[in-house]
């Protein structure tokens, strides 16, 4: 093992895990003094082209409270055909199928390179994937047209045997029956009325009707036993029908008078979608895909009234407690999200509008169920179209990059307990010996449900070292953690992915250097950022910032080298050196700052931040600014471009220069999900503000003249620059007053 950097990278590639600390402080007390908690970013379904699933089921520890999976860390007695669980030390008999086991004939799960292994489970009925489109019809004509085309296109991308359903809404909510020939049939619901799941199922006729006395004719044997087949049909059967239906879809016909918003029953539509799936396909992989072009304006879950003169709530309103619908609406969507999660379904929100659409209130639907949240200006943009297409991209095996209904089960060795998780998951409330009483994120459980996930979905998982200071761990002792993820693969198979990792324990007194060196500052920054964002959802913004600052100062105090009261003496080792910079950017990021962002935008950014993997998260915290230049001042390039030099053959190299960032941008755009907002701007251009808000304000109107000669425009902000921030940080770190 060469360096920790390599170790970290190798571990990430193999196991999809990044720990904040890769050598663990061996006692509770010392661990808490480390400031950054022992935690990891786990990408449960990290793509592993080199890891074909094994075709059998995992061997479990027989202790009912443990049930850990046999793994390379287990001690095996090949002669006695016994293995010892490395978590609870239970000795277990191998199952009969392992009769031939020996040192030279090991099953994969015992080989060290299979610290991550995937099992394929053959049992159980496979149910097809379900895609339920919930479509807003209160759109502008061209928006609706674009959306219809996207939806029609998506039919060809869906797995052919997937079940598909359609709900449209506006003033009313229509659940379309897809099975009928001739007359197209839909069930219509009032958009203002909250209905229970039972009522919805009754009204959709999903509950078995009482048979009349006379049997009209023998019941036709049906392909699907579910009554719901009327609303959810295999896409290969009805794609023509559905294409036509989508084609005939009209804008909501109810008149919208001047000065009013269209009446949009998003709350009821979602409620019906949830109720429909709940009653018919509980615990199977299903996506509810909500496409909305504006805020819910009536019924349960309404976010704003239909009077245009009253604008939708802003952060200002929320602070002033002036958002009259927010709490009630949030409660409605939370209730739906929890029900959906309980059924293992997920909700995607595709919101395309120039104004806010109520993502703040609806965010929990995507956050708790692992659904996607996409925000755009219009359905008629490539941002939406390509993002939507990318949902249906396939991996190297030709499988959809989506998985459903996952359960993440975590086991730890005795010295560790689980404090919580932050990510697109809900707690399953499974208490056990390895569950800590101190919660970080969603805690109090050792299992979480992740209803929708893809190969990049990443959870932050926080641990607590519980080993007491006076019970030292022997030299060379290792702590282990096992992540067991049950999920429904997009091929509808049930699979189990098991990742078992181990790290060395180290005594802080004697081995602080080791621990320091094994610090993963990137992971730590993201994990701290997740904690910060998680707090920001429930706490006031300034409190969160203060907390982050304090943590940073404490970290610097703990790991910095300095003389007391001498800021200039302050140094950080390489493994910590970037961390303050990450924090600087995090403080300014839209994940924590709401200034200049609408509540919807904040929700959107936070949603994505809480599910992206480390690399993406880091980029989101600290943007990357690539520079392309002829070594001239940038405004000249803009002038040249305006002058059209790029179109002249003799300036072809200029054309290439202009093209280079565009090409790179395309590359980046293709690699990300959801597709980022792509802004092509120039010096002094109106859109340049988006760029300027992201860069380090080393030069502002406040210090422009103080700094003197430097060329380049000032950035109009009151934010401090990184330089000022660092100076201040040093001062505080070395201060003994803190």
């Amino acid at each position: 093992m060469a360096t920790y950097l390599e170790f970290i990278q190798q571990n990430e590639e193999r196991d999809g895990v990044r720990f904040s600390w890769n050598v663990w402080p061996s006692s509770r007390l010392e661990a808490t003094r480390m400031v950054v908690p022992l935690a990891c970013l786990l990408t449960p379904l990290k793509e592993r082209p080199d890891l074909p699933p094994v075709q059998y089921e995992p061997v479990l520890c027989s202790r009912p409270t443990c049930k850990a999976v046999l793994n390379p860390l287990c001690q095996v007695d090949y002669r006695a055909k016994l293995w010892a669980c490395n978590f609870c030390f239970q000795r277990n008999q191998f199952p009969p199928a392992y009769g031939g086991i020996s040192e030279v004939n090991q099953p994969a799960e015992l080989m060290p390179q299979f610290s991550t292994i995937e099992y394929m489970i053959q049992r159980g009925a496979q149910s097809p994937l379900i895609f339920l489109y919930v479509v807003d019809t209160c759109l502008e004509e061209d928006d609706l047209q674009a959306l219809k085309e996207s939806l029609q296109m998506s039919l060809s991308l869906l797995p052919p045997d997937a079940l598909v359903g359609l709900i449209t809404f506006g003033r009313m909510v229509q659940v379309h029956e897809l099975s009928c020939e001739g007359i197209s049939k839909s069930y219509v619901f009032r958009g203002t009325k909250d209905l229970t799941a039972k009522q919805i199922q009754d009204m959709l006729g999903l509950t078995k009707p009482a048979m009349p006395m006379q049997q009209a004719r023998p019941v036709q044997p049906q392909e699907h036993p579910f009554a719901s087949t009327r609303f959810l049909q295999p896409v290969h059967k009805i794609d023509m029908n559905l294409t036509d239906l989508l084609g005939e879809l009209q804008r909501d016909p109810w008149p919208v008078t001047q000065g009013k918003r269209p009446l949009r029953s998003t709350g009821v539509a979602l409620s019906i979608a949830v109720g429909l799936l709940e009653g018919t396909f509980p615990n199977t992989g299903a996506r509810i895909m909500l496409f909305t072009g504006g805020p819910p304006t009536q019924g349960p879950g309404m976010v704003v009234g239909d009077e245009l003169k009253i604008p939708i709530r802003s952060w200002h309103d929320i602070e002033k407690d002036n958002a009259r619908f927010m709490k009630k609406a949030t409660k409605h969507y939370e209730m739906l999200a929890n029900r959906t999660a309980a059924n293992g379904h997920c909700i995607d929100i595709y919101a395309c509008a120039l104004d806010q659409t109520g993502l703040l209130e609806m965010k929990c639907c995507a956050n708790l169920t692992g659904g996607y949240m996409v925000m755009g200006d219009s359905f008629n943009t490539s941002l939406f179209k390509q993002t939507f297409q990318r949902i249906f991209t396939k991996d190297f095996n030709g499988d959809f990059r989506m998985a459903f209904g996952a359960t993440l089960d975590i086991k730890t060795s005795r010295e560790l307990k689980i404090a919580g998780a932050i990510g697109p998951c809900v707690s399953l409330n499974v208490k056990g010996p390895c569950v800590s009483e101190n919660e970080l994120g969603v805690g109090g459980t050792s299992q979480w449900k992740i209803c929708g996930l893809d190969p990049t979905s990443t959870l932050g998982i926080y641990f607590e070292v519980v080993n007491q200071h006076n019970a030292p761990i022997p030299q060379g002792g290792r702590g282990a953690i096992q992540f067991v993820t049950h999920y429904q693969h997009s091929s509808t198979q049930r699979r189990i992915r098991v990742t078992t990792i181990a790290r060395n324990w180290a005594d802080v007194q004697s081995q602080l250097r080791h621990i320091e060196a094994a610090f993963d500052q990137e992971a730590a920054a993201v994990l701290m950022a997740r904690l910060g964002v998680f707090r920001a959802e429930s706490e006031e913004g300034p409190d969160v910032l203060r907390w982050l600052d304090r943590q940073l100062i404490r970290l610097c105090q703990k790991f910095g080298q300095y003389n007391k009261e001498d800021p200039t003496s302050f140094r950080l080792s390489d493994s910590f050196s970037l961390y303050p910079q990450f924090m600087f950017h995090l403080r300014r990021s839209p994940f924590l700052q709401v200034f200049n962002n609408s509540p919807d935008e904040s929700s959107y950014y936070r949603h994505h931040f809480a599910r992206q993997d480390l690399t993406q998260s880091l980029i989101m915290i600290q943007p990357i600014l690539y520079s392309y230049s002829f070594h001239g001042p940038p405004e000249t390039i803009a002038q040249w471009r305006k002058a059209g030099y790029q179109d002249m053959p003799e300036y072809e190299n200029f054309k290439h220069l202009l093209q280079a960032p565009l090409d790179d941008a395309q590359e980046i755009l293709q690699a990300r999900f959801p597709m980022p907002r792509y802004i092509n701007t120039e010096h002094g251009g109106s859109q340049a503000r988006f760029l300027l808000s992201k860069v380090n304000p080393s030069q502002t109107h406040n210090n422009l003249y103080a700094w003197g000669q430097e060329t380049g425009a000032p950035i109009l902000t009151d934010d401090v620059s990184l330089q000022v921030f660092m100076d201040h940080l040093k001062k505080l770190a070395v201060s003994s007053a803190c």
Partner: protein, 996 residues
């Protein structure tokens, strides 16, 4: 100089002349000149006993009521407002259906005999045909005598008077067992009774009169039916006397010809009797007089009555933006009775005497008689009936209305599908929609149409013309109904024809396999109403419904039919709606101008009393087809449907009746809603609907100026035009009661009384209602006797000429199904009839209560006119003849057992009487004069009625005959109704009690 009323006499001699000619100077008549009906009655205690008998149950042999009801299973598809089969018992299975009850009691298998009174069957005593009673001899033949024959004063009663003496105990011979008192029975018709119905027959018995009367040692115990007033005779006389010349309405207080008479009307300032008929055309000046006479003052108004082609429909007057000219105070509309004064600059209101300025644009000079010179150019100054175009002020929300819409709402539950109703209906609608009512010469109807099907959920259809296929939208939230679509629900039929056709093709297929048996009702109407509201128009819902709405929804009903309640104080609940939800809904419908027509296809109790609330309050119609089967009932249903869809109808109407100072409209009867005491609100009003208005005095009237009525109806035409239809009628006023009695119209009186009674049963026990009617009738007649008739013995029954049919007609009302239900009448039938009568016009009530009975072979075969009717009594039937009987709802062809074989052959295409299928509903189309004539006659009868009458062929002595006999209203009825004769006796007794 034609007589206005045929002469009639019961006893003997010539009667005084009729004094009803309007041109006769009033007040010149001697009391004895009054036309009198003097009936000599041998009654006293006898009558009392007979009446009691009539009330008593007659079929003690029949077992419990349930078994009676089951007997009606024998006529499953009779087409009467019918009975339901109980269980699955086949027609003849009465005994099998109730073996425990029936078998031991009944030895004879004949069903018919089961319905025969136990004492019947014996031969009629020869004595009945023996020496004629005094009255008998004057039976049929009183050929219309000239009215002005001066005749001796009314007869002093012949010796029969003595019979009135003893009021003591009954002589033994009067006991019910005595055959002489038996009502006519099976097999008793025949030549024995002689040719009474033949009006043309000579006057046979006059000479025998004197010798027969006095010395009869044994009093003839029975009043001779021929001696009592005959409706047939009265109708016939009126036809002969008044059917030839047009009725000109120029003269105030003229009594129009009877409704049974065909006549033309010339509007010369008063509304045609087709629009308004009054109980009396001469009304007392004071309320004291009115109270004394007890004659109800009522007008039966049919504002949108259809006219024969020879008569012009009301002219439309457009007064432009200023709108119709009205009195400033009482808001009466300009009419021919308004007095122009001051050279035409002002006019005095004929109703309230207020003096109004004539607006400059309306000014016109007066001629020397004070009449405007343009009077004859302006309908509103010269005609009794006309229309104004309404201005925007007369419109809801100050907005001219949109054209109305029709919404077809079809029950597609299991029952509706199984009977083939849905398929039949959808097929018919495809062509029927081309015949929606349209205004005048409009090329296409302005009415838009929409479609809903339902069982326990509702299915709306988008039939927008741009769609390739209709779209169905299901609304299951019946607790909170709403309309799921706006655009594409109500469409122009021509634009959306392809989509609609496709829809109507698919509806029967879509629900072919339905197993849903439950239905909702209130949400369906609510949906239709909401749809109209959303479209901002008035309109009509056509509901096709099969079963009691038991599905969980507002207006859910339970089966509460309980025959045990009959004749108890709780009987009224059977007529009342189960829940208030229906009235609430109806009010909302009225506010929206949403009229509901309900077609019911029940095969068991559906609670018509509740379901008909909304149609009733919205001016709609109810049609009921019990045990509907396509093969048997399709013609009737389709015919009714076609007529109902095509008929001209006004929407969102308000009717107000204004009167001269002195009387006031105080009560209203009909299918409408009233939110205050003066305005009759009608969501819809068609040409068949009638509103009966009762007036009361609130001041003195003036003989000079008479009494004026103005009925103003504000409505939206079927093209969406807002209009006012005005009918004016001037009546005379009198200070002499005799004038009142001389200008009454019994048919209208009966119309009023029936409606009054039928409303009464909602609040009072049926018995009390009947007693009220009898008492009122007795008071009317007693008042006449006391004040107008010449002094005579108390034993004489003296009836005013105009009211001589009052007892017989009243008896028909009293023994009608609502007021005296027989065992075979279901609760639904009673409720159905009750609400039907509520909006019937005079002609309809006339034939409904006293059915027409037409002999088929008596008149020459080549005669093209309807044969003269005979009285509705079994003894008028000859077993060698065939008869048609109709009452506006039912049509029977009764075939006598001894009808000639040739006749049977030429009508039924079978060789003998026994081969005729009982219950047949269609006559074979045969090419012979008799068949053509009978079928033609049936067609013409049907054409006269607003509802299709399904034919039922009844054979003499057949089990179906019981149904038929129910309509022989002069006879004692199985349900205990008195015979005419008995009732007359009873009435006489009542009068005498009042007089003494």
């Amino acid at each position: 100089m034609e007589p206005t009323m045929a002469q009639y006499q019961a006893i003997s001699k010539h009667l005084p002349k009729v004094c009803q000619e309007p041109h006769l100077p009033r007040g010149h008549l001697q009391p004895q000149q009054h036309r009198l009906l003097v009936a000599r009655l041998h009654m006293a205690s006898l009558a009392k006993e007979m009446y009691r008998m009539a009330q008593a149950p007659l079929f003690r042999c029949k077992g419990p009521p349930t078994s009676l009801a089951s007997a009606s299973g024998s006529f499953p598809n009779s087409g009467l407002y019918g009975s339901y089969p109980q269980g699955q018992a086949p027609p003849l299975s009465q005994a099998q259906g109730h073996p425990g009850i029936q078998t031991s009691q009944r030895s004879a298998p004949s069903q018919a005999s089961g319905f025969t009174p136990p004492a019947s069957g014996g031969p009629r005593l020869p004595s009945m045909t023996g020496p004629l009673l005094p009255g008998q001899s004057f039976g049929g033949p009183s050929v219309s005598q000239p009215n002005h024959v001066s005749s001796p004063p009314p007869q002093t009663l012949p010796p029969g008077t003595q019979m009135t003496g003893p009021l003591g105990p009954l002589p033994p011979m009067h006991s019910p067992q005595q055959p002489g008192y038996q009502p006519q029975q099976n097999g008793s018709f025949g030549p024995a009774r002689g040719p009474q119905p033949n009006y043309g027959s000579p006057y046979p018995a006059a000479p025998t009169f004197g010798s027969q009367s006095g010395p009869q040692p044994l009093p003839p115990k029975r009043l001779d039916p021929d001696a009592i007033p005959s409706p047939i005779q009265v109708i016939e006389d009126d036809r002969n006397n008044r059917g030839t010349e047009p009725f000109v309405t120029g003269v105030r207080g003229q009594v129009p010809p009877l409704v049974t008479t065909n006549f033309l009307v010339k509007d010369q300032g008063n509304a045609s009797p087709r629009y308004i008929r009054c109980t009396s055309y001469n009304i007392p000046c004071t309320s004291d007089m009115a109270k004394q006479a007890q004659v109800p003052l009522a007008a039966v108004i049919k504002p949108l009555a259809s006219l024969p082609p020879e008569e012009a429909s009301p002219y439309v007057v457009d007064h432009g933006e200023s709108g119709p000219l009205r009195c400033n105070r009482c808001k009466a509309y300009m009419c021919p009775f308004m007095q122009f004064i001051e050279g035409g600059r002002r006019f005095q209101c004929c109703f309230c005497s207020c003096i109004n300025d004539v607006p400059p644009q309306y000014f016109q000079h007066l001629d020397h008689t004070g009449k405007r010179v343009d009077a004859y150019d302006r309908p509103e100054l010269s005609l009794g009936s006309y229309e104004f175009l309404a201005t925007v002020d007369y419109c809801k929300n100050n907005k001219f209305p949109s054209p109305p819409a029709f919404i077809f709402m079809i029950d597609v539950s299991y029952n509706a599908i199984r009977t083939g109703l849905v398929r039949l209906l959808c097929e018919e609608l495809k062509s029927l929609l081309d015949f929606l009512p349209r205004e005048g010469g409009a090329e296409e109807s302005a009415i838009r149409v929409g479609f809903v099907t339902y069982n326990k959920v509702l299915h709306f259809y988008n039939v927008k013309s741009s769609l390739a296929q209709p779209q169905m939208m299901v609304v299951s939230d019946v607790a909170d109904m709403f309309v799921p679509l706006l655009d594409g629900f109500l469409v122009n039929i021509n634009e959306s024809r392809a989509v609609i056709t496709s829809l109507l093709d698919q509806i029967p297929e879509m629900f072919a396999d339905t197993r849903e048996t439950e239905t909702v009702f209130v949400p369906v109407i609510q949906a239709g109403m909401e749809a109209l509201k959303a479209a901002e128009c008035a309109g009509k819902l056509f509901l096709f419904h099969t079963s009691l709405p038991i599905a969980e929804a507002p207006g859910k009903l339970k089966n509460r039919d309980d025959r045990k309640l009959i004749n108890t104080d709780k009987e009224k609940t059977l007529f009342q709606p189960q829940t208030g939800a229906y009235q609430t809904l109806a009010k909302e419908c009225v506010a929206q101008g949403c009229c509901v027509d309900l077609f019911l296809f029940p095969n068991q109790y559906v609670d018509v009393a509740t379901l008909s609330v909304v149609p009733q309050l919205t001016g709609g119609s109810v049609y009921k087809y019990a045990c509907f089967q396509v093969e048997n009932d399709q013609e009737r249903f389709l015919s009714d449907l076609r007529r109902d869809v095509q008929k001209v109808v006004g929407f969102d109407a308000v009717m107000r009746v204004r009167t001269s100072t002195g009387i006031r409209a105080v009560d209203f009867f009909g299918a409408f809603y009233m939110s205050n005491t003066t305005d009759v609100e009608l969501a819809g009003l068609d040409g068949d609907k009638t509103v009966t208005v009762e007036f009361k005095h609130d001041d003195r009237l003036n003989e000079e100026s008479g009494a004026l009525l103005q009925c103003a109806l504000l409505y939206t035409s079927c093209a969406g035009q807002r209009r006012l239809r005005i009918h004016n009628l001037a009546l005379n006023c009198c200070t002499q009661l005799a004038d009142l009695y001389r200008n009454c119209e019994t048919d209208t009186l009966i119309n009023y009384m029936a409606k009054f009674a039928y409303r009464g049963v909602l609040n009072s026990p049926v018995k009390a209602v009947r007693d009220t009617l009898i008492t009122q009738c007795a008071q009317i007649l007693a008042c006449y006797r006391k004040n107008c008739a010449s002094p005579s013995s108390a034993g004489q029954l003296i009836l005013p000429e105009c009211m001589k049919l009052l007892p017989v007609y009243l008896n028909c009302v009293l023994k009608s199904d609502v007021l005296q239900p027989g065992a075979e009448i279901t609760t639904d039938d009673r409720a159905y009839v009750r609400q039907l009568v509520t909006s019937m016009d005079v002609a309809e009530t006339n034939v409904f209560f006293y059915p027409r009975l037409l002999p088929l072979t008596k008149s020459p075969i080549e005669s093209t006119t309807e044969p003269p009717a005979v009285r509705a009594s079994e003894e008028r039937l000859s077993n060698g003849d065939m008869y048609l009987l109709e009452n506006g709802l039912n049509l029977f062809l009764w075939v006598g057992a001894s009808v000639q074989q040739g006749v049977v052959q030429s009508l039924f295409s079978v060789s003998s009487f026994s081969q005729i299928t009982s219950g047949l509903s269609v006559l074979p189309v045969l090419d012979n004069p008799l068949s053509k004539k009978v079928r033609g006659l049936i067609d013409s009868l049907r054409a006269q009625r607003s509802r299709y009458m399904k034919l039922i062929v009844v054979k003499q002595e057949d089990k179906l005959e019981m149904l038929f006999k129910h309509f022989l209203v002069e006879d004692k009825s199985l349900s205990g109704g008195a015979s005419y004769v008995d009732f007359l006796c009873h009435m006489h007794k009542e009068i005498r009690q009042l007089l003494s």
